[in-house]
Each structure stands twice: as C-alpha cells, then as structure tokens.
Amino acid sequence: MDTYFTRDHEWIRVEGTIGTVGITAYAVEQLGDITFIELPVLGKAVRQTGMLCSVESVKAASDIYAPLTGKVIEVNHALDSAPEIVNQSPEGEGWIARMEVEDLSGAKNLMCRSDYDEYVRGLA
C-alpha cells in the first residue's frame, strides 16, 4: 500500500489496482471550512491530471484533479451532508472517491510523502 501526492494537493492511496483519492491537510488548511463537495459520477473515466470533481469552501471553489488514470468505482456519500468531514480527517474518513487504476506507472509523476512534505514547506 503506497500513498502518493500531487502538486495540486491531492493524495491517492493505492492497494492493488484500487486507488483511494482525497485532498491533503495542506489543501484543507488553504480552503478553510468546506461547505460542498461535488462528488464524481460513478463509472466516470478520468485521466491523470484531468478534472475529477470540485469542492467549495467558505473562501473559494476549486477543482480536484485525478492523481492517476482510471475509472471511478465508489464515492464517499457521507460527504453529501457532512463535507466538514474532509476538514476533520482529510486523509482518513474524508476520502472523496475510489478508482480502479488503469496505469500504475503514472505514479512516477507523483510525490511520495516525504517529497510532498518538503514541497509544502517550500510553499510557505
């Protein structure tokens, strides 16, 4: 099980060919209180860096991009009525969608946790 990170502050945790996607604590910090998540449609095919879905916060609306290429197989409906779960647990219960990853080799374009942490430190 490996977790990878994008420069746009998404994470993907890969187990076999299934990837769980969410946004990072840094993203949540920047967005402030999240008020709405437009979950992706089940079965949606997404390409790496393509738009997966969008989030709205008290400050702004932002797009969320797919960390890897694949197909959406599950979404976190708990977020429909309680998007604040993403604020409370961005890398846990606040996951957004699961996807069947088509091409794991795309992970070479992503960062591991220590690289991502360093990347975020550089943004401060």
């Binding site: 402030g32 209180d33 008020t35 709405f36 437009e38 709205e56 008290v58 400050k59 609306a61 998007p83 604040e84 604020n87």
Partner: protein
Amino acid sequence: MEELKKTPLVQQHERLGAQMAPFGGWLMPIQYESILAEHRWCRESAALFDTSHMGELLFSGDLVGSGMDSLFTFRISSIAIGRCRYGFLLNDAGGVVDDLTVYRLSEDEAMIVVNAGPADKDFSVLEAALAGRGLLENATGRTGKLDLQGPRSREVLTALAGPEIGEIPFFGFRRFNVLGAQVLVSRTGYTGELGYELYFEKDRLQELWQRLLADDRVRPAGLGARDLLRLEMGYSLYGNDLDESTTPLEAGLERFVDFSRGFIGREALLSQQSKGLSRVRVAFRVSSRRTPRHGYRIFHQGEPVGEVTSGAFSPMLGCGIGLGYVRPSAAACGTLLEIRHEAVVLEATVVELPFYRQGSLRV
C-alpha cells in the same frame, strides 16, 4: 499601491493564529481557526470583532445652520440625543457614496460611523459640502473600536461595565467607564444578534481586547464570519451590494430615506421613482449547499436578468444564499432563478429578508 493601514491589534491577531488580509485599505483578520466555528460562536455565545478599520467622523456645530442636516438621507436633528440611525450619503445621481450610522452625541455634536474603504472620500465630500460651517474631524486614527456580538454579549458587558448596559435601547448608546477608560457603547451591530459596538481612545484597544477575551463566553471572530453573519440577515456590504452606481431604491432600502426634506441625491431618486427602476436587489436561496459568488450571472426562464453581488453557504439554513440585482420582472418572491458560472448551474428561489429569523437581535 497605497500602503495598508494596520490595526493596532495586529500582533494579538497573529498570536491567535489569524489569517490576515487586506480589507478597505486595512490589514485585518479574516479568520482565526474556522469561519464556520466563529460564526456559530456568535450565534450561540458572544464573538469579539476588531472593527478598528471603520471610520469615525466627528461633527460639531449648528446642525441646521451648517447644512449638515441636509446631507444624509435622514435628518440628524430628528435623532434623539443618545440614539443612532442608519442611512446613506448619496451623490447627485442618487448613488450610494457610503452607508453609515450617525450617533447624535449632543444638541450640536454627531459621530458618523462609516465604512473603511470610503472613509476618506466621505470626509472630503462632507468637508466640501460644509465649506467651513461647523467643525468636522476625521477621528478614525485616534479611535479604537470593538464589536461584541451574540446572545451572551449583554451578560459579558454587564460584568465589565455594570447593569446599565441592559438599559441601552436598540439603536441607542451610552457612555461607560470600563477599566478607567471612557467607552461609548451602542446597541448596534452587523450580525442579527444582540450586540454592542464599543468606541474609545485607541490606546486602550489592547487592554480592552484582552479583557473581553479573558471571559470564557467570548471568542474572537474575523471578517469572514462577520460577512457570513451579515449576509444571513441580508445586510448590504458596501463595495459588494452597494456602490456609487447603486441607489437606495434599487437596493430596496428606501425605508432609510426621508423624502420630506432636501438632501444630496433627492432629485435623482425622485426622478428614478417616477421613471421606474431598471434593476432591483433580490435575495435568493439556492436549492443545494452550493455557494453563489459575487459576479455569477443570474438567469430567469433562460434570459440573463442580472448578477450576484454577495453569496455564501448559510450554516443556519443549510443551503446557499445570496443577494443580487435583477430586472424587476424577475424580482417577485417565489421567482425561480438560475445562477450560472462556467459549467456550474445553481437553482435558486427569490425569498424575503432576512434569511435567518431566529437571532437574538431584539431580545
């Protein structure tokens, strides 16, 4: 670019972990931990806002003889001493130069509390209109201002200043001695809750801020929460919902205009009234949790009819809410609107204000 003015509390805000941002030419706290948590604390207990950025203009002189009485959309001389009133300073075209609150301090003295952004402009307009008749001082630089708002604000202030706090009527004010400082306390605010605005000499700001925050019932709130609180009440934000190209008639605020006497912009308003309005302010509720935002376009039956001027997710209503300007034909209560921005389409319904009706404002 002009350098940002800083509230004297900037260090206190930063120590509390505030995110600071420019507002009206000032560097102000937007949020501490969470806009939604600060909003909730104001609706349930008492929130403390640093509002030092707002402008205070002091007038002294003969209200009628100086012409001061015929500058605003209401007569200052008709306000009882110890009371305040909300209204407008307009331009000749009837556009809003600023929305403001005037405090009648004495027979021949008034304090005009104005928005931060237009404060200098307001001062120039008034100074030019008075042309030396009466004294006008821009006291913003020497005035500290804090707002304490929320259902428990009265208890908190009573503990500090005594039971007379409970005797201040809605839109009234009195002077108190707090920690040895002279503090003017008015029962006014921008949140829809029971609340007070405190004015005092600026050098007491740190002390009063600390003292109020030492009360467990009080937590600091930033301008983000303040914006959400005011929008749930449908109060206008100058620069968003009101500006020099908008008249009080278009904004649905004619109840703050006294047409029975002369004031700047009166002829333009009367002319607009007789010709009919081409756009009016509406309040609307979105059918989902999505947020309409400033600048999003409003459609009715497929036709573009206007634009959103303020919007937010309302925690109290559990949906998106907003204000905007539309053609009068799309402004009736119950009218279905579509709000569009890029690929986003929100369904909304025109409603009456306020959005939120359970506040402690008049308790």
